[in-house]
């Protein structure tokens, strides 16, 4: 880390990566402490979420802890209910773990769809150039200004039976533009690098160049885009649910916060109902932000000093 910093301090405008092999990915970004920390938090959360079925079985011990009236209502943490129970007697730990899994899935789906659209549009536009580029850039600009939150509110308020995933996909359909724009500018700069010329001279076709030369070098950038879209999607949907507009057929973290607010858990002093889902969301946020911050530092060496290190 110190060697890296010194080289940056010596030549602040030098490219982040030293001269490298012409082919294959550069994995140096994985050495960043923030990326490692954020990634471990995310892995932990995903593992916890993936085991929500097991945890529920273990807590329920035969009966379903998500069933109304599983235990006494609005309990504080005890040896029986580690995080207490909610206003209808469901076990809070089981609820949070289940909600965590849903929120993670929604974020992943929305992030994947929006990054996917972004990648396709960006590569088509940046690599092809010409009128395709002009057209796609214009379309990107249009989608950049359409405000997504009003659309989501409108859709979810009326279509009560929609699933959270559908909302995630709708969100992604309207929020890929920022990713597309950022990736496109990166494609434009990579396209004119010597190793791409070399690949072209050695008669690789365009798809091969895109997938074997450009993609691996942009991988951290794509992960960055994915992280930002996932954060955006999770927060937008949680926001909808917190103000009581989201679909109520799936348990996710936003719905839990909403039920804590609307059942008056705060004034009754049942803090786990409020705190547990917020901590879970905060952890998702911290994990994803650490990864994206670390990757941003990798791309923009100036930030390394800016972040106060």
């Amino acid at each position: 880390m110190t060697a890296q910093e010194e080289s940056v301090a010596g030549a602040p405008d030098a490219p982040a990566v030293a001269p490298r092999r012409s082919r294959g990915a550069n994995w140096r970004y994985l050495r960043n402490g923030k990326v490692i920390g954020g990634f471990s938090i995310l892995v932990l959360l995903v593992a916890l979420g993936a085991m929500h079925g097991l945890i529920a079985d273990w807590i329920g011990d035969g009966s379903d802890p998500l069933e109304v009236g599983f235990g006494p209502r609005m309990q504080l943490p005890s040896s029986e209910h580690w995080l207490g129970t909610d206003q209808v007697g469901r076990d809070e730990l089981a609820l949070v773990v289940t909600g965590l899994w849903t929120s993670l899935q929604v974020g992943a789906v929305a992030g994947l769809v929006s990054t996917g659209i972004g990648i396709v549009v960006a590569f088509l536009s940046g690599y092809t150039g010409g009128w395709v580029d002009s057209l796609l850039s214009a379309i990107t600009d249009i989608f950049l200004v359409i405000p997504t939150i009003p659309l989501l509110i409108a859709y979810s308020a009326f279509a009560k039976e929609v699933h959270l995933y559908q909302l995630g996909i709708i969100l992604a359909l309207f929020s890929w533009a920022a990713a597309a724009r950022a990736i496109r500018s990166n494609v434009l700069s990579l396209r004119s690098r010597p190793y791409v010329d070399l690949a072209r001279v050695s008669k690789l076709n365009n798809l091969e160049i895109i997938f074997r030369e450009l993609m691996p070098n942009m991988l951290p950038y794509l992960v960055l885009g994915f992280g930002l879209s996932a954060i955006g999607a999770i927060f937008a949907l949680v926001g909808l649910e917190v103000i009581g507009l989201g679909p109520s057929n799936v348990i996710d973290l936003g719905l839990l916060i909403n039920s804590a607010v609307s059942s008056g858990a705060l004034s009754l002093g049942v803090w786990p109902m409020f705190l547990a889902p917020i901590v879970a969301i905060a952890l998702i946020f911290v994990g994803l932000s650490l990864v994206t911050l670390g990757l941003e530092e990798f791309f923009n060496p100036r930030l390394r000093r800016v972040a106060g290190e």
């Binding site: 602040p12 214009a138 379309i139 600009d141 249009i142 989608f143 950049l144 200004v145 359409i146 405000p147 997504t148 939150i149 009003p150 659309l151 509110i153 409108a154 859709y155 308020a157 009326f158 279509a159 954060i231 927060f235 949680v238 926001g239 917190v242 103000i243 507009l245 607010v261 705060l266 004034s267 917020i278 946020f285 932000s289 911050l293 100036r302 000093r305 800016v306 972040a307 106060g308």
Partner: protein, 382 residues
């Protein structure tokens, strides 16, 4: 016309662009044919403005059309839902005839297929500036309903965004200026985490702290039930008290974002030679900061603000809903629950229009303010 003539024409244009000292009379001979094209070729700025304006119009049209079709994709028939509500709540045993439904459908622009609806909607909007009647407040028009709640949103958003921008810019400049101090690092880390928090979380925390726990500020609506709207001291005080928490939740997040941007700008500027010169002249450090370093960071800050207007607008909707503040964000949520399509279109299009117009104006004004940003102006100015 021969090939040689064409080549000459092209050469003329190139010469005009490259060398402004080519005389006007010469240009008239060599320039492209047709009055419009010739004017555009000799006035690159005008050409840029025209092109940018056309792009603005096309983008506006496309964004409005996209939202229109999205809203029409929402399942459900607003008129029937409305009538059902009426029947269940007020008029037991009575039902509306088909003619009534037909009449209202045509008034609300809901008859015919989607493309006919679209055509009539655009006609009404472009020719008369009319979004059609509002379902919530029939027979008031949608734009009338929006206009009556717009002042609250403008007041809230303009004041809090301006405040946040100034706060963030000044603090960001200081944090960049003294970037090695512990305080600056602390401020940066705090705003780094604040800038990622959604507005509604801040809003909820505000309500919990200041409303429930401390009881300083009220948690909902724009003014108290005990005061009558008017130009009185009591009303003004009530409005300020009620606006405090929603404004704070916007200020905190936007200020944090501005601070980070300004800090970044400052740090890039700080290495520049002209600051070294100012230091060598023995100027007071704060004079250097205020008169030399900061002015160069203002424009990127304005650009950043304009670009984030759309996000601010979306976040404002949620904040207003959390505080039941009677602005257009709250109106939008109410309209969505009733499927009041015209009001929904109106609010969304207002957001699109604001963002696009701000970007358009910024694109025109920035080259005038900052000579380093020159689109096609440079060829004129030499």
């Amino acid at each position: 016309v021969s090939d040689a003539g064409d080549a000459e024409v092209i050469l003329g244009t190139v010469a005009a662009a490259a060398n402004p000292s080519v005389e006007k009379s010469q240009l008239r001979v060599l320039g492209p044919r047709g009055r419009v094209r010739r004017t555009l070729a000799t006035h690159p700025t005008a050409a840029y403005v025209v092109r940018r304006f056309l792009l603005y119009l096309v983008t506006l049209w496309a964004a409005i059309s996209a939202t229109f079709f999205f809203f029409r994709m929402i399942p459900g028939d607003p008129i029937r839902v409305f009538l059902q509500n009426l029947q269940q709540n007020h008029l037991y045993g009575q039902s509306a005839g088909d003619e009534v439904i037909k009449e209202y459908s045509s008034q609300f622009g809901l008859d015919g297929n989607v493309f006919e609806q679209y055509w009539r909607f655009m006609q009404r909007l472009v020719l008369h500036g009319d979004f059609g009647p509002s379902l919530l407040n029939y027979p008031k028009s949608a734009q009338g309903v929006i206009a009556s709640s717009l002042p609250w949103t403008i007041g809230l958003l303009v004041i809090s965004t301006a405040l946040a921008w100034m706060l963030g810019t000044v603090l960001g400049a200081l944090a960049g200026w003294r970037r090695d101090s512990k305080v600056a690092a602390g401020i940066t880390y705090v705003s780094l985490s604040l800038s990622h928090i959604p507005y509604y979380f801040v809003a909820l925390i505000m309500i919990y702290l200041f409303s429930y726990k401390l009881g300083i500020f009220p948690s909902s609506y724009a003014y108290g039930v005990d005061v009558a709207p008017g130009f009185s001291f009591g009303f003004a005080r009530s409005v300020i008290e009620h606006g405090m928490l929603p404004a704070l939740s916007i200020v905190i997040v936007v200020a944090a974002e501005c601070l980070l941007g300004m800090r970044q700008q400052m740090i890039t500027v700080l290495g520049d030679d002209y600051l070294m010169l100012a230091q060598a002249k023995g100027l007071h450090p704060y004079r250097i900061l205020r008169r030399y370093a900061m002015p160069n960071c203002y424009l990127p800050q304005v650009t950043r603000l304009v670009i984030s207007l759309g996000v601010v607008f979306g976040g404002n909707v949620l904040v207003e809903q959390v505080f039941t503040y009677p602005g257009i964000g709250h109106l939008l949520v109410q309209a969505s629950q009733q499927l009041d399509l015209n009001v929904m279109m109106g609010v969304t299009d207002l957001g699109v229009f604001t963002v696009l117009t701000a970007t358009f104006v910024m694109d025109l004004v920035l080259p005038l303010l900052d000579p380093r940003i020159a689109y096609t102006r440079r060829s004129v100015a030499g």
